[in-house]
């Protein structure tokens, strides 16, 4: 199961709009995607689960995907995070 490590650079962390965009992006893919922060793992397509991760600015997250479009999904999420969720 492919996985990537990412650091959240956005000021508000994986909350508010960044969390929404993250979840919306994940939801575009059919693969099962999960995101881990510390000890907690969440369904990347669930806003409620992603929020409970409490991933603040500078948090390191691990994203795993499994399914037909797993690689594309990881690539899209990586770009989103590296691009600071489209905010500059």
């Amino acid at each position: 199961m492919p996985e990537i490590k990412l650091t959240i650079t956005h000021e508000v962390g994986l909350h508010a709009r960044p969390a929404s965009t993250f979840v919306q992006t994940a939801a575009k893919f059919s693969s099962d995607i999960e995101v881990t922060h510390g000890e907690t793992t969440a369904n990347a397509k669930s806003i409620l689960a992603v929020l409970t991760l409490g991933a603040h600015k500078d948090a390191e997250i691990v994203v795993k995907a499994e399914g037909e479009d797993a690689d594309e999904a990881l690539k899209a999420l990586e770009e989103l995070v590296l691009d600071n969720f489209g905010e500059h």
Binding site: H15, A16, S20, V23, S46, I47, L48, T52
Partner: protein, 575 residues
């Protein structure tokens, strides 16, 4: 024809049908079901309906409140479609054969509790969001209207037991002719809102109001505090005549509204506006206000889920400060607590919130709230005439503490290379009797005073202004209150400082001659009152006002003072 009396809260006459604003409680009855498929179909339908409503809310918020606020509804929509939530609900319906309302309520509540358990203000506010989405869904499942405000389709007079700020924000203001409220006094939320909108209101009308049904023909007389149901032809004609006269007097006053407020014997005072948002700037300027005597900063903190940033505050304060150029704009620091609550600021319940950690007391204990506001103000005041004022100051020590934080902020900003309003004038509100009594000491540490009569009266008379039974005592028309005001003005003038008044009283025509006579320098009121106040001040002499004030402070109480001013100064009668 029947009539109900209450407390007059906002001038004018309104004639129109009643709209009864009632909140519906959600009651969920757990029960077992036979057909989980049918149950699930109900859920999917309600979910679609909710989704559409959230789209509408998103657009409305985007238009009225901006992109950031609209984002809340976008996040709520994601919650509505959340796979974890939906799967939990579905599996409970399927396996336990319970009704979908119970499954939904319990699942959403469990997520809300998880979010709340994480010590984070932002996430606690999301707990409110999930509860909000879930109750919207439940209302749709149960066939309840989403907001009682949705039913308002034609211009109507709103009647209600009480209205909260979140209720009134939902009302289409273009369709509101007036307000009749069961509870509250003349300084309650709805009363202030009505005066801000320039429409009549009667509050504290009590239980008889419950007899009114939507569609009943109403007249409200905002001058007398009367509500008339099914007025007969003759009195309806009289009300229409008075309404016409009122509108004419208004036009008359507006004609002189941009002239200075000078008495017939040449004494000039300032007439300025109380405003509560960037949107209020234009109406204030158009009303003839010569600046802003009270800019309530709460607007930046309400209707959102986290504290406004320094940058956001800076933008708003700067826009408002610059709009008035070299005319003064007095920004009041955050005034919450008491009857004003902000969900994302953790304020533990208090037995006596009005005597508790409110306003400056809260700010001094929370530098994370206070400092961004001070920094934003100090930056925004560069190049205009923004002043800062602090509510609920009780002692000189309070001011010393405020000044320390203020200096700290100034130093930080200088170090960071910002332009800082170094000479910004600093004032305090006089609303606690101890501050009035200590006015001579306080003149040493501030540049100006602004008297908040709403609170000063309730504290001086120990009468809760939100309690209709004692609210008349807290009206401000009390010799004790006028004497406190006199003490403050005399103490300030002795040291060459000026005094303003930004309570509701500043715009009350019956109070103006007394306040003028006591030597008040600045009258700050809701924009619709500005033309009437200027017209009155321009029609009387300072000499006469001084005599009126001297007599009034020696009278016995509210009724006596009102009656006396009415007779001694006939100019107070409009029209």
């Amino acid at each position: 024809m029947k009539s109900i009396s209450g407390i007059p809260a906002s001038y004018g006459i309104a004639i129109g049908p009643a709209f009864v604003f009632t909140r519906v409680e959600i009651v969920i009855e757990p029960c077992n079901i036979q057909d989980p498929k049918a149950e699930w179909k109900r859920f999917v339908q309600a979910q679609e309906e909710t989704s559409k409503q959230l789209d509408v809310a998103y657009l409305k918020a985007q238009e009225e409140l901006g992109e950031e606020e609209a984002g809340i509804f976008e996040a709520q929509k994601l919650m509505l479609q959340d796979p974890e939530l939906i799967n939990t609900v579905k599996s409970r319906v399927d396996s336990e054969l319970i009704n979908v309302e119970t499954a939904l309520y319990e699942s959403a509540e469990s997520f809300a509790l998880q979010l709340e358990a994480i010590e984070d203000e932002y996430l606690s506010a999301r707990a409110l969001d999930i509860r909000d989405v879930s109750s919207r869904l439940l209302r749709n499942l149960l066939g309840l209207k989403n907001s009682p405000a949705d039913g308002l389709k034609i211009p109507s007079i709103i009647t209600a037991q009480d209205l909260t700020p979140s209720d009134t924000v939902m009302l289409n203001k273009d369709l509101v002719l007036g307000f009749c409220i069961e509870v509250g006094g003349s300084t309650s939320h709805t009363a202030i809102l009505a005066r801000g909108l320039g429409i009549p209101a009667v509050v504290g009308a009590g239980e008889p109001l419950r007899k009114i049904k939507t569609g009943d023909k109403l007249v409200i007389d905002g001058d007398a505090g009367e509500i008339i149901i099914d007025a007969d032809k003759k009195s309806l004609k009289q009300f229409r005549d008075r309404q016409k006269k009122f509108l004419m007097a208004q036009a008359d006053a507006e004609a002189i509204s941009h002239q200075p407020a000078i008495t017939t014997d040449g004494h000039q005072v300032e007439v300025v506006a109380n405003i509560g948002s960037v949107d209020d700037v234009q109406p204030a300027i158009l009303s003839g206000a010569e600046g802003v005597g009270l800019l309530r900063s709460e607007f930046l903190y309400l209707e959102r889920s986290s504290l406004p940033t320094e940058e956001e505050q800076y933008e708003s304060y700067k826009t408002i400060g610059d709009a008035f150029g070299d005319r003064p704009v007095i920004l009041r620091s955050l005034d919450v607590g008491g009857d004003k609550d902000i969900p994302y600021i953790d304020m533990p319940p208090e037995a006596n919130p009005f005597l508790g950690v409110r306003a400056i007391r809260l700010c001094l204990s929370r530098p994370d709230i206070f400092k961004p506001q001070l920094r934003a103000a100090l930056r925004a005041g560069y190049g205009n005439n923004l002043k800062l004022m602090f509510p609920m100051v009780a002692t000189v020590e309070d001011v010393v503490k405020i000044r320390e934080v203020l200096e700290e902020c100034k130093q930080e900003l200088r170090d960071e290379g910002y332009d800082v309003a170094e000479e910004m004038e600093i004032g305090i509100m006089i609303e606690i009797p101890s501050a009035a009594i200590l006015a001579d000491q306080l003149t040493e540490v501030v540049d100006f005073f602004s008297i908040g009569t709403n609170d000063l009266s309730q504290y001086a008379l120990a009468a809760d202004r939100t309690n209709a039974q004692v609210a008349p005592m807290a009206s401000g028309f009390q010799p004790a209150v006028f004497r406190l005001i006199k003490m403050v003005i005399d103490a300030a003038h002795a040291k060459g400082k000026w005094v303003g008044l930004c309570g509701e009283m500043a715009g009350e025509l019956l109070a103006i001659p007394i306040l003028l006579g006591l030597g008040l320098d600045e009258f700050s009121m809701n924009p619709p009152a500005v033309p009437f106040a200027k017209r009155l001040i321009r029609s009387i002499s300072m000499e006469h006002a001084r005599q009126v004030a001297e007599t009034a402070i020696n009278l016995k109480g509210d009724k006596e003072i009102r009656k006396y001013v009415q007779e001694a100064v006939p100019e107070v009668n409009r029209g």
